[in-house]
């Protein structure tokens, strides 16, 4: 029962503590873990004895993302449709969490990347610590920020979401608290005590209860001196531009006027990332601004299917090779430059795959009592 031991379950009266337990792979989500989480979350929602669900990770990571190794394998063997099932399950889990009627508390004590953000940020409470390292590194892998990231990134202050999503910038605990990705900050030494207190939830309203406890533990850390969050003004000026090309040229202008390490690193990150990824990511975040989380996931599913099928670009396989397998960190992107990635090519990624036999849009699990705030139009 590998899947069971990959997600540890602790029963503490009305609280369930789930621990992602694949420490050697930094708790990367494999398809068994996703299925198991989905099963558990749905069951807890129905179980009147469960009030709080705590999600954390074993070891130095909360969760480093979705485990795409098998997906890339499938793609290489020409069976990308198997990969589509993986993403369909993962996005369904993201959706259930985003629309969860009970309280999910995620303890982000370590690395939180990509799919790791997808299983935490959509929940009610997210606890950062001094060990948190958050990033959406997909554009460097030939993918795009998925798992509902086009929903939550687009709702960050100003154009910080575009910055985080396009550059893959790493944020620490103080930064994710400041921008709203985390709701609380608790030093890691106090986590055990926090968990114990949370387990004392009695018959009181779980949201108020959790909020009271968390407020008592939370701290207000200072942003480090060179934090990107101090540069929101520059980020807004540059990342609000309509196209990736304009974003880069505005950054370059800023860099000439006021050169600094942060801005050069930002430009470098964009120059290293996959051009096709950058363009579809920007468009995805921009569209996410007007969509509900469900619609975001449906769109992202269309996009990820196009990425896997690779009609326009095979950057996912190439990125995976360069970053994970051969680790030469020198991917050969195709299309090679931003100017080669034309608008009509970007457009393709957002279309349904009606020509693909048996392909269907992501079918979101039905939810009752859907809060209206997560429903949007179009």
């Amino acid at each position: 029962m590998a899947s069971q031991s990959q997600v540890l379950v602790e029963d503490k009266s009305s609280v369930r503590i789930l621990t992602l337990n694949r420490p050697k792979q930094m708790n990367a989500l494999c398809s068994n873990m996703i299925t198991r989480l989905l099963q558990l979350f749905l069951a807890y929602e129905e179980d009147p004895n469960v009030k709080l669900v705590i999600l954390k990770g074993q070891g130095r990571a909360f969760c480093a993302g979705g485990d795409v190794r098998p997906v890339v394998g499938d793609i290489v063997q020409g069976k990308w449709r198997l990969g589509a099932d993986f993403f369909s399950d993962q996005y369904s889990l993201n959706y259930v969490m985003a629309t969860y009627s009970k309280v999910q508390i995620s303890i982000l004590n370590g690395i939180v990347m990509g799919g790791g953000a997808g299983v935490s940020i959509h929940g009610r409470f997210r606890i950062a610590t001094e060990k948190t390292v958050f990033a959406m590194p997909e554009t460097a892998l030939g993918l795009f920020p998925d798992v509902g990231a086009s929903y939550f990134l687009s709702r960050l202050p100003g154009f910080f979401g575009e910055y985080v999503g396009l550059t893959g910038a790493r944020l620490d605990g103080a930064e994710i608290l400041a921008c709203g990705l985390a709701t609380h900050f608790v030093p890691s030494t106090r986590l055990t005590a926090l968990e114990e207190d949370l387990c004392r939830v009695g018959s009181s309203d779980p949201v108020t209860f959790a909020e009271t406890i968390l407020n008592a533990y939370t701290q207000h850390p200072h942003l480090k001196q060179h934090s990107a969050y101090h540069r929101l003004h520059v980020i807004d000026r540059c990342f609000s531009r309509k196209t990736v090309e304009e974003i880069i040229s505005t950054l370059e202008k800023e860099a000439i006027e006021e050169p600094n390490e942060w801005i050069s690193a930002t430009i470098r990150a964009l120059e290293k990332a996959s051009p096709s990824s950058l363009k579809i990511s920007l468009r995805s975040i921009r569209e996410g601004r007007y969509q509900g989380v469900g619609q975001c996931l449906i769109r992202e599913f269309r996009m990820v299917c196009h990425v896997m099928k690779g009609e326009i670009s095979k950057d996912l396989v190439e990125g995976y090779r360069a970053v994970v397998i051969e680790k030469d960190k020198n991917p050969k992107w195709e299309p090679r430059g931003l100017e080669e990635m034309k608008d009509n090519m970007v457009e393709q990624y957002f279309k349904r795959m009606d020509e693909e036999k048996g392909w269907e849009d992501l079918k979101l699990p039905p939810r009752k009592a859907l809060p209206s705030s997560i429903i949007s139009k179009l």
Partner: protein, 677 residues
């Protein structure tokens, strides 16, 4: 039954007076009644009909992504007054601010958008693509706040375009880039206290002083003060001045000049007096002012000289000898104002309808059956009849506004006359439609409509002036009829077929309408076209023959027009409504068979039939019989029922982000809960 209810009611009232708790009827359970709950219409309404995203592309017509980019810029900035209601983000101006605050924040929003590159190329780029981008972005600004789009419109479309179109190279080099970068802030002084639509009658006078090579501008009397000049009261540094040009005692007619009115620090320049127009019923983010000129001297080069010039020694030169034609050449570029007004009116109607229809899909009132659930507002046929025809009209006019923009951006000297006529008619009809729609929407959402945060009521004040500025609607409609008259007379005189002004249908035989109108006939596009063409044709013939008769009796042409104002009005409306119908038919024809085309067909039939239902001309002049109009009315009601299931998808297709609608469009229970007080 009713007796019981009356008793019950009396009982409750009595208890109110006696302040004792009402006795519980024995058949009621003691459990607490479930409170009203908001249920998002998305949960209950079918969305399977057609692709809303495709429909949105069709309606917006162009630059969809640019629009979304700008919506995003506004939603992400605190300058746009972000607030949360019922768990959702909204952006809309705070109309409770003082006039001064509204003016300042509007200006700050303009700076913010400037910094983001929104106005890039608005004056320095040319060609249809650049113009369409500009129009799309201006429309989005107007959806956020009419003051914002008007303040931008004055600066770019009135001041900027006047420099661009009336000026020559020297003006372009000096002003266009600086205007685009807001180094100068322009305004446009045309209207005077005593003269509005009649520009030729303005009284401001400019003379030329050859000794110094300067023009001297004067406001000779109080009625000559410039009035309603947007931007003049606070922010503008420069203005276009429209004035009579007097050269050696000869009046050369109205000309346009550039004058500086404030220095860089915002101080009013010498020989200029400026007063505020004061608080208005809407548009308080725009600083309208009044200007007087006291012997203001400006360099000779400041005459915008594309049409006429004055040489250094004071000689008047113009390539156009006829002062009438000269005046026409001056006015031609002003069409852009009517184009933007027409399309912004439609976006305003879209905001109103999206709010009112979304509310009507979540608010219930009265039960039809005793103890039955209360009925959703939009399930009342009367409520459908109030809103759905206006929805169909808004759709139809949306296509017409797009069509107008297209012919405008592709304009040539040959199309100027047609653009003038079509834009006049559409500006009037679309702005009237917006005012009527907003009023209906305000009433349809009940008391919630009077809260400014719910927008529909406030928008009435904000958009009201559209029926007046850039040409009073009634005057514009008369101009349409006069132009049609002139075209008719000229074709008949030269014995040439009609060509232009969309009168080509008059070259073929007068259409014959069937006596019996079945449902399928009424929905047939050819029939609808025939009815509209027949009305236009007949009214034009009547109008020309009435005018000719009066002229035959020695009346002047002008006074013959005046006497026949009723026919002129009917004709203007017939022309414009037919033009609108044609644009829907064109859009429909381009679509492949499918659900989108089907629903657009329903919308088009609703537009055609409600227009017939609402215009007494069809009965008055006997194009339709009493039986016919009865059939039309029945069909309208049938169409209401058929459009009802598409209502949500149809307003969703407007593509206006949730944040730009009012809280009552969403969870109005939560938005008003005690916890969010």
């Amino acid at each position: 039954m009713s007796e019981n209810r009356a008793l019950q009611r009396a009982h409750i009232l009595a208890n109110h007076i006696l302040r004792s708790p009402p006795p519980l009827p024995s058949n009621l359970s003691l459990a607490r009644e479930v409170c009203l709950q908001y249920s998002p219409p998305e949960l209950s309404e079918s969305f399977g009909g057609f692709d809303a995203k495709e429909m949105r592309r069709l309606l917006d017509g162009h630059n969809t992504e640019d629009r979304d980019w700008l919506y995003g810029l506004m939603m992400q900035s605190n300058l746009f007054n972000r607030k949360e209601r019922g768990g959702k983000l909204f952006v809309s101006p705070d109309y409770n601010q003082t006039m001064e605050q509204q003016r300042e924040i509007t200006m700050r929003r303009i700076w913010y958008l400037l910094e983001k590159g929104v106005y890039r190329g608005w004056l320095t780029d040319s060609g249809p693509e650049a113009e369409l981008r500009k129009l799309a972005l201006l429309e989005v600004c107007g959806i956020y706040d009419h003051s914002l789009s008007i303040k931008l419109g004055v600066h770019f479309f009135l001041w900027g375009n006047a420099v661009k179109f009336f000026g020559t190279k020297r003006h372009h080099e000096k002003w266009l880039k600086n205007t685009e970068d807001y180094v100068v802030k322009g305004c446009f002084a045309m209207t005077e206290l005593g003269h509005g639509s009649n520009v030729r009658g303005i009284e401001t006078v400019t003379t030329y002083d050859p000794r110094t090579g300067e023009f001297v501008i004067n406001t000779p009397c109080e009625s000559a003060q410039k009035y309603w000049i947007g931007g003049a009261a606070k922010h503008a540094t420069h203005t276009i001045v429209f004035s009579q040009l007097d050269i050696n005692g000869t009046n050369q007619g109205v000309h346009a000049f550039i004058a500086q009115i404030r220095d860089e620090d915002g101080n009013i320049c010498p020989n200029i007096r400026i007063a505020d127009c004061g608080h208005k019923i809407g548009l308080n983010g725009v600083d309208n002012g009044r200007i007087w000129f006291d012997n203001l001297r400006i360099p000779r080069e400041n005459l915008l000289n594309s049409v006429a010039d004055v040489s250094p020694d004071g000689e008047y030169v113009s390539a156009i000898k006829d002062p009438d034609q000269r005046f026409g050449a001056f006015m031609a570029p002003l069409t852009s104002g009517r184009v933007t007004i027409a399309s912004s009116a439609i976006y305003s109607a879209k905001v109103g309808l999206a709010i009112a229809l979304r509310y009507s899909l979540s608010r219930r009132a009265f039960s039809v059956k005793a103890n039955g659930p209360e009925v959703l507002l939009l399930d009342y046929p009367s409520h459908q009849r109030r809103l759905l025809p206006l929805l169909a009209k808004t759709y139809a006019m949306s296509f017409a506004a797009n069509d107008l923009k297209m012919i405008y951006v592709k304009r040539t000297p040959e199309t100027n006359k047609a653009i003038h006529v079509v834009s006049s008619g559409l500006k009037a009809v679309l702005t009237w439609h917006n005012m009527r729609t907003l009023q209906e929407c305000r009433e349809a959402v009940g008391g919630q409509g009077v809260k400014t945060e719910n927008l529909v009521g406030q928008l009435k004040g904000e958009f009201d002036v559209q029926t007046t500025f850039e040409g009073d609607n009634n005057v514009l409609m008369q101009q349409v009829s006069k132009a049609l008259f002139a075209e008719y007379v000229s074709c008949k005189k030269r014995n040439k077929p009609f060509k232009g002004l969309r009168l080509e249908h008059m070259n073929s035989a007068r259409p014959v309408l069937p006596t019996q109108l079945s449902s399928s006939t009424l929905r047939c596009s050819q029939f609808q076209k025939n009815v509209f063409c027949l009305r236009e044709r007949d009214l034009l013939e009547r109008f020309t023959s009435e005018v000719a008769q009066l002229q035959g009796r020695g009346e002047s042409r002008e006074s013959s027009f005046l006497v026949n104002h009723e026919l002129a009005e009917d004709l203007g409306k017939a022309f414009t409504e037919k033009a609108i119908l044609q644009t829907v038919l064109d859009a429909e024809a381009k679509l492949p068979t499918g659900s989108l085309k089907d629903v657009l067909g329903l919308v088009r039939s609703m537009y055609a039939l409600i227009s017939i239902e609402e215009d007494p001309s069809f009965l008055r002049y006997g194009y339709l019989s009493r039986d016919n109009v009865g059939d039309v009315r029945r069909e309208v009601s049938k169409l209401c029922g058929e459009l009802r299931p598409h209502a949500l998808a149809l307003v969703t297709s407007f593509g206006i982000p949730d944040a730009f609608l009012g809280p009552i469009a969403f969870n109005w229970v939560e938005a008003n809960a005690w916890s969010s007080v």
